[in-house]
């Protein structure tokens, strides 16, 4: 069995929609952008603007993402809120023909490099410990 993937709890907020939620973001140094995927993206589909769609590709194939200006909020070890504004939070396009048991819905939200580049990232899988230190 593999160790749990490194993930952090953070809050996304999209000002245009005045909407946000706490989610678990997988720390993904391979992702250029922070993205909402799977069931978290599904809930936003009807609010998205087609003109913001752009393609993306990865090992698993290609897909398209809507883009929204957003902030990502973390809580630090002194119980303070720490936020980062991002000009483009990617929201995965979920095609309507996907059945509701499709593996596309399993995809986690990803914390990408536009945020990680401001951090020192420590990951100790044997202690299930993930730390982001913002510079």
């Amino acid at each position: 069995m593999t160790a749990p993937a490194p993930a952090v709890q953070a809050y996304w907020y999209i000002p245009r929609l005045d909407r946000g939620e706490w989610v678990l973001f997988l720390v993904d140094t391979g992702a250029s952008e922070t993205t909402l995927n799977g069931i978290h993206a599904l809930a936003l589909q009807s609010h998205m603007r087609t003109r913001t769609l752009s393609p993306s590709f990865g090992i698993g194939g290609s897909c398209q993402y809507f883009g929204e200006r957003a902030i990502i909020v973390f809580r630090d070890d002194r119980n303070q809120w720490l936020s980062r504004t991002i000009q483009r939070l990617g929201i995965q396009l979920i095609e309507q023909q996907h059945p509701s048991n499709s593996t596309v819905l399993y995809c986690p939200c990803l914390l990408g490099r536009e945020i990680l580049n401001d951090c020192i990232f420590n990951y100790n899988p044997s202690h299930n410990d993930v730390t982001l230190m913002f510079r």
């Binding site: 749990p4 993937a5 709890q9 809050y11 907020y13 000002p15 005045d18 909407r19 946000g20 939620e21 706490w22 678990l24 997988l26 993904d28 391979g30 992702a31 069931i39 599904l42 809930a43 990865g58 090992i59 698993g60 902030i71 909020v73 809580r75 809120w81 936020s83 980062r84 504004t85 059945p99 509701s100 048991n101 819905l105 399993y106 995809c107 986690p108 990803l110």
Partner: protein
């Protein structure tokens, strides 16, 4: 254009104020912790199912996400506060 601090204020207000924002943070964290601690036990019971966790207990489950999402709505649970996970014993290679 609003600054990061202003946007944070808006985010907190949209969540219902700072106390509510904090409560939602702790509520979500506790549900995640419950899932991590009970994962093996839950897997035996709900293999191949989506499970919905709220206040550190399973409040809905099902094989199809649409059905589970409908149950959340029918029960009047706050969908932005629940933790929803898919449980499977199948070995899956994940590449993100």
């Amino acid at each position: 254009m609003a600054t990061s601090g202003r946007l944070l204020e808006r985010a907190v207000q949209a969540a219902g104020g700072s106390e509510e924002f904090d409560r939602k943070f702790r509520q979500y964290k506790e549900s995640l912790s419950f899932f991590d601690k009970k994962r093996e036990e839950l897997l035996k019971k709900y293999d191949g199912n989506w499970v919905v966790i709220y206040n550190a207990e399973i409040v809905a489950h099902g094989k199809e996400y649409d059905n589970v999402a409908n149950k959340i709505r029918q029960e009047g649970l706050p969908i932005e506060e629940v933790v929803i996970k898919f449980l499977t014993s199948k070995e899956m290679l994940t590449l993100f």
